[in-house]
Amino acid sequence: MVLILAITIGCLFAGAIYLMLRRSVVKLILGLLLLSHGVNLLIFTMGDGVRRGAPPIVDDAGLPPANVADPLVQALILTAIVISFGIMAFVLALAYRANQAVGSDDLDDMIE
């Protein structure tokens, strides 16, 4: 499974970089989105063994289910997702205003 995840991560990164190298601001931002997906999956893969097991929710005795997923990476990804969301919202607003100021969404026009 790690192999499949790794290939998926590679695809996400490749797609992200390709999109970011386009001239459209929109594609740039979509690339950033893909990039953050790639990173999230990467952290996920780094968990304590990627398992199909149970979600990290302990029972009433405080014991985790057998074959439980790594909770720490999940918490880290959650934090990362929310942070990148905040940043993405800012980037969107910035791109909108830049587009408005320049009158084009072509990055090559966005030069002083």
Binding site: R52, A54, P55, I57
Partner: protein
Amino acid sequence: MSLFATLMGGLLAVLVISLVLTMARLLIGPSIPDRAVAFDMVMIHVVGIGAITAALTDESILIDAVIVVAVLGFLGTVALARYIEEGGS
């Protein structure tokens, strides 16, 4: 593996294949609303896959996730349609 799990797993696989077909529409388009249709279908598939996974793993907590996915599918599709309409094509 129990027969139930095998059958459910099979159904899950069918659902994933169905999702592949939906993806084809996403690729083909040709119009933007076509892609929005594909998006809606993807979300519906996520609901289905989530539900079946819940049954397979006997994790009722996944059901709550499925509820939220359903809500989001609706919101996403409606918003998409809304802005397609405003944006023109």
